[in-house]
Symmetry: C2
Subunit: 422 residues, 2 copies
């Protein structure tokens, strides 16, 4: 992380006022939220793996959400988008793992609606007030008898306990190796505001989100448009700035529910309270995104790719993504080989405008290329740096002010073996 | 290759009049060309691997060339581009493997010029008449003492024999596992015209060419602009329509030299003779591109990705490339898993405009999705198809007339292991 402190925008002062708890119980930390996780064998493997999660708020929530930009979208994504556009008071989320309910034709939408309706009945919420999410294998119809039994059981198990918080967070995982939760709190006017979330990641992690779900709850009250602006901005610099394999899924969804239970109400996106809430939400998204990339399928390293001096942010992003998704680069990271030639070549292939004779390249803060010329005297130091589980590759194109930061992973034989079949 | 005959433009009738010899001696089949391949230990490993090739024409040649669009270009690429723009009579090519002479600062251009000058002296050709190419590891200065000795030896070994043809073709290889040559002949007005080529490929095979070199010679006489138009068109549908790992190299170069020795002269790009020559050149490029992709690093399969019915050719290409470069798709090909969900998801992520509910998808000619709905009754047949070493994935977006054909490979654990270090 050598370059981060120097090259990222300075952290807002309010960050210091946040109480951050990683690996927390998650949504059950937020007053007014109850959750549950149950096993209903959606994978039809006869085991008792948790695979269905229910999130419920006692109070009506304002909501914001960001969905995959994949043109091939799962039925629950289409349904949840529609609900978001239509409704203004939401009571929860029902989500399953093990089956994406994508490429399932007309049956897929019927099943997604059934999931939502059963969840609403279980919670005692009005129609159209519960979001629906699915993740897992594409192209198979949901085993609806199991799903229906699972939702009924989940509704009966709802609780605000850490145990159910953990069960819900586990139920949405697929090839993840660990639970992903975080809770952030701050004080305002003598009251405490809580923002907490849970997520799943693993494969297909890339732009415009991945096979990833993130559910965030808060007891702040805020108008939906303010929540949406803050969530969208946060997604751009968290979930959309990580890559494992460059694949974008059919099901990616981030949902934010705000139930107002804290008694603290935000009216607009500016001001002290807005600043605090924005930072808290940002922290939740950053921590979850970091947990997702660090748990990428069969990875051994997380590499921060920091591009500065591009003619614009778009060019900086092109360079970062071309590097972070290059098979040759990722393979060399795995091999702990400081093959900076592949980095320079990927930058050149990205389409970004720059003069190779002005390119500066660093491993952490150690120069590799200075104005396009190798600094071979540093080679022993590069070799040390790339052996770490985490390091920074920094490119300064010296062509302008554009910058982009991407968290990427290496590529291992294990990834290929793991994804040969599903 | 199920779909090819039905979905590619019909082959021109002149194709039947071509005599095609794969794995030929290559350039020495073309009257007026002499070549040689020598070992000068450019890799500095103390072995006698062939690593320097020289191509020489007894007659001055008109030339055309296509170079990498990578912004980070090797010095010899910049030099050869400059020569092409300046000269009008060329006598040959000098090329080395084992060192790309890329990211080598000012020394790189000095060394590339030295290579060219020595080759010109060795051949007895005027200054600026010999192209220079390098391929191999990036970022290390060429061991010029070895290179210079090699060029002198190569000049002394020039011959029109099949043996030297093979040695030259071997000397440009890097991680290739086999020599890549082809010769095509046709008759015109009682005379025979020959077009022959040699190439190297292996890794970094993708758009805008790969770490690939292709040198093509012909005894046709033709104006340089006509040669250039024909070569550029041929590159688009051959070398630029294959992918192994999506990486574009710093050194890619295709050079065509026409020495006129056949006594057959082409004045313009239209007409019967132009049609025959265009087809012969196309065949040489197609065969070499096919050999390159089939010899991709540690691959086990070549998959033809055929996209039709896009709103335009650009959208068809986006879909084909997103599929052909998806790690999840490529891993599933390796695993012989008919995971069409990953194909549909990649298509949706490509940015191309289409309605998923109108998407038709096939393995060879067997329907997988019909108007977006799975045809599960065919599953046993899909499983058979994806076990083959070569098969076709066809997507009809049903949105327009745009089409694109890409030859892609699978991704194996072997690729990752092979590229961990260099």
């Amino acid at each position: 992380m050598g370059g981060e402190s120097r090259f990222l925008p300075p952290t807002d002062f309010t960050m210091k006022e946040l109480l951050i708890e990683e690996d927390s119980p998650g949504l059950t930390d937020v007053p007014g939220f109850r959750v549950s996780g149950v096993a209903c064998d959606i994978r039809e493997l006869g085991n008792d793996r948790l695979d269905l999660a229910l999130v419920a708020s006692t109070e009506p929530c304002a909501a914001a959400a960001v969905f995959t930009r994949n043109r091939v979208r799962a039925a629950p994504v289409d349904l949840s988008r529609e609900l978001l556009g239509r409704g203004d008071a939401f009571f929860g989320i029902v989500a399953n793992s093990g089956n994406a309910n994508a490429c399932t034709g007309g049956q897929g939408m019927t099943d997604a609606k059934t999931m939502g309706r059963l969840a609403e009945q279980g919670i005692g919420a009005p129609p159209g007030s519960v979001f629906v999410c699915s993740t897992g294998r594409i192209g198979r119809a949901l085993p609806m008898d199991r799903v229906e039994a699972g939702i009924r059981e989940a509704a009966g198990s709802l609780a605000a306990t850490p145990e159910q918080g953990a069960r819900a967070a586990d139920a949405i995982l697929t090839s993840d190796t660990c639970r992903k939760t975080v809770t952030v709190r701050f004080d305002y006017g003598g009251k405490t505001v809580t923002v907490a979330g849970m997520a799943k990641g693993a494969g297909m992690i890339e732009p415009n989100m991945a096979t990833m779900l993130a559910f965030i709850g808060t007891d702040m009250a805020a108008p939906a448009p303010v929540l949406q602006e803050m969530l969208s901005a946060g997604v751009a610099e968290s979930y959309n700035a990580i890559t494992v394999d460059g694949d974008m899924s059919t099901n990616d969804t981030v949902i934010l529910l705000a139930n107002g239970k804290s008694g603290v109400a935000l009216a607009e996106g500016e001001g002290e309270l807005a600043g605090k809430f924005r930072q808290a939400l940002r922290k939740v998204n950053d921590v979850l995104a970091e947990k997702i990339v660090s748990d990428g399928e069969k990875i051994t390293k997380v590499v921060e790719v920091l591009v500065t001096g591009a003619t614009g942010a778009a060019d900086a992003e092109k360079v970062a993504r071309t590097i972070g998704n290059s098979l040759l680069v990722k393979s060399s990271w795995y091999g702990e080989d400081p093959n900076w030639g592949r980095l320079a070549s990927a930058a050149g292939a990205s389409g970004a405008v720059f003069d190779p004779d002005r390119l500066d390249l660093y491993y952490n803060d150690v120069p590799v290329l200075a104005a396009g010329t190798p600094r071979r005297e540093n080679e022993a130091r590069w070799r040390d740096i790339v052996r770490a589980k985490r390091f920074t590759v920094r490119l300064d194109l010296n062509a302008g002010e554009g910058r982009f930061r991407l968290l990427a992973t290496d590529l291992t034989e294990g990834y290929v073996a793991f994804n040969k079949t599903e």
